[in-house]
Amino acid sequence: MRARLIHQDDLPRLVARLRRDYEVVAPFRGRGRDTAFEVVTDRNQDQLALHLPNPVYPPKRYALPHIERLLRIRRTDGGYDLQPAYDETPRAIFGIRSCDLAGILHLDSFYLGRDFRDDHYARRRRNLFLVNVVCTDVEEDIDENCFCVCTDTGPAAREGFDLQLMDLGQGEWMVVAGSPAGEKLLEEPFFRRGGPEHIRRRRAILTGVRAQFKDMTSWFAATVRYVSRGKVLESTWQEIGRRCLECGGCTYLCPACTCFTVSDRQTGPDTWERVRLWDACALSGFTRMAGGHNPRKAVHDRRNRRFFRKLAHYFIQRELSMACVGCGRCVDTCHGDIGMPSVVEMIRRATVMEETRHVPSA
């Protein structure tokens, strides 16, 4: 991977360069600590910031939109005309965090892998340029709910980006290219060469940032083992289930959730579109079948499902990535305090207690 330096004051030039080829989206500040990804325009481009809280609504939607048109349906004389709909807009995400990037890589292995390749996803993804930013500002970039160190997805992504930006302080940013398209951009005149001193600074900063996560020992590996081996007690799942209000927030904000539902809607007297919409296994309608039979009737069965899908070794192997990226959004949003780290902790504590209960005392 090739690396260069760019001066803080030249970052807008990089954005302007990207805007020649792409629709660029980037995080902007709203009120208070609110932030959101928006399209960069001539009017808002000078408000661009890279150190700010990660937006609650994840940039996943540029790879898998919340509502996506799959098909245009037109009734003709005695028949139907069907046209698949694709979005092939060249788009760049400027300032995607490492956790959210890992989310998109997870979607890649899910939607492009296995028996069937999802063409709607593939075409949008092929036109997506990713500028990753390493989280270094412990006041702004990182908050107490981040646990990317536990999921091994951050604070600095190792792969999957086209360009990676990292603030080295003193107005200098390191830029790493992770793809041929990214390398090509490094030829722009506002990039300079760096030296061993910059590498040292990068390493020192990363070590410092990782130390911020010191009390975030969420025991992921142990919990993956317990869940995969079916060792989690029914009573623990029930306890987790009791706390779920079934709002679906965790699934809608998750950068790695993949489930959707499909619906036809009328767009004219003889036209319809078939769309897919994000769906949530947290909601009780998710598995309800014709006749009203619902195999996951109890709340805790659905909670169980969500965490099983994310933590079972079988699925981690299948996609070669875990469907949890440590972004902490489920922690922020959950009214019942059963975001991923709490669940990991509850499972670990209950399982360990159960195991030690059976150890005969000396």
Binding site: L70, L71, I73, R75, G78, G79, Y80, L82, P84, Y86, F110, Y111, R114, D115, F116, R117, D118, D119, H120, G230, T258, C259, F260, T261, V262, S263, D264, Q266, W272, R274, R276, D279, C281, F286, T287, R288, M289, A290, G291, H293, P295, D301, N304, R305, F308, R309, A312, Y314, F315
Partner: protein, 281 residues
């Protein structure tokens, strides 16, 4: 597995040819693709696979393929339960709808060669098994004994009557029918489907035998108990699972049971696999 270069979710337009009443709320819909090339490609489906049926403007739903690839016609047998199935029931011959597929693993018919086949169906559970039965009969020499046990609530709930008549009379296969509640016309056996196994004139195949079980959950549980009691191993009991499905191609997540995406890993599973899914069925 081959996949088309275009959208995974693009149905092909099909034409409804004729509709046959089966039982209350259930009809069989014969159809063909508008495009003959599509029809030829589709005809390579395997017994036990399914398709996604589109009623444009209403939605899409999964439906088993009851025909065998050895037969000429393509059709679905559909119970009216909700918006899509209702809309399909309202179609007239000549109307258009959409089909994509075939999907799912289907029955590994080669693996059963040389074995006896026991089919146990309850109610509309005969729909997914029909394909397999017809296929086995079309290749009669490849299989050992073929026994069919089929039960319905009342005589009027027995479906595929012309098939049942043929199977009862066909040489080389045994077909036993039962109903829970007889009417004045019924001369046959009365009782749940499992009670057929204990009829004095029935000699169940058990050794070197694969059993196929499809029906309502309660029937499934009892039949499994019966079969296991007779000595069937879990890996030689086969069923098809049904789940709410939105995509049929392993993406929407609706059909998951434990580690399985029923639409791609199933719908055919052995009972041994079902027990290891990690979630109740």
């Amino acid at each position: 597995m081959s996949h088309p270069p275009e959208s995974l979710y693009l149905p092909k337009v099909a034409v409804l040819d004729r509709v046959v009443d089966e039982i209350a709320e259930v009809k069989t819909f014969y159809w063909h693709f508008e495009d003959p090339a599509e029809q030829a490609a589709f005809k390579r489906f395997r017994p036990g696979q399914f398709a996604q049926v589109s009623i444009f403007g209403v939605g899409e739903f999964p439906a088993s393929l009851p025909p065998s690839p050895t037969e000429d016609e393509t059709f679905f047998t559909i119970r009216r339960v909700g918006s899509c199935t209702e809309a399909l029931h309202a179609l007239k011959p000549g109307d258009r709808f959409g089909v994509r597929g075939p999907y799912g693993n289907g029955f590994p018919m080669e693996e059963y060669e040389g074995r006896n086949l026991v089919f146990v169906a309850g109610g509309i559970g005969l729909i997914p098994l029909r394909s397999c039965i017809i296929y086995a009969m079309a290749h009669r020499e490849r299989y050992g004994r073929i026994q069919i046990f089929y039960g319905a609530r009342t005589p009027r709930d027995l479906m595929y009557l012309p098939d049942l008549k043929r199977w009862e009379q066909a040489a080389g296969i045994e077909c036993y029918l039962t109903v829970d509640r007889p009417d004045e016309t019924w001369r046959g056996h009365v009782g749940v489907v499992g009670s057929l196994f204990r009829k004095p004139d029935v000699r169940m195949a058990v050794e070197n035998t694969t059993a196929f079980v499809c029906g309502p959950p309660i029937m499934f549980r009892f039949v499994i108990q019966d079969l296991k009691g007779m000595g069937f191993e879990d890996r030689h009991i086969v069923s098809t699972l049904e789940r709410y499905m939105k995509c049929g191609v392993g993406k929407c997540g609706h059909c998951c049971i434990g580690v399985a995406y029923v639409c791609v890993d199933g719908p055919v599973f052995t009972y041994e696999q079902i027990r290891k899914l990690g979630e109740e069925i």
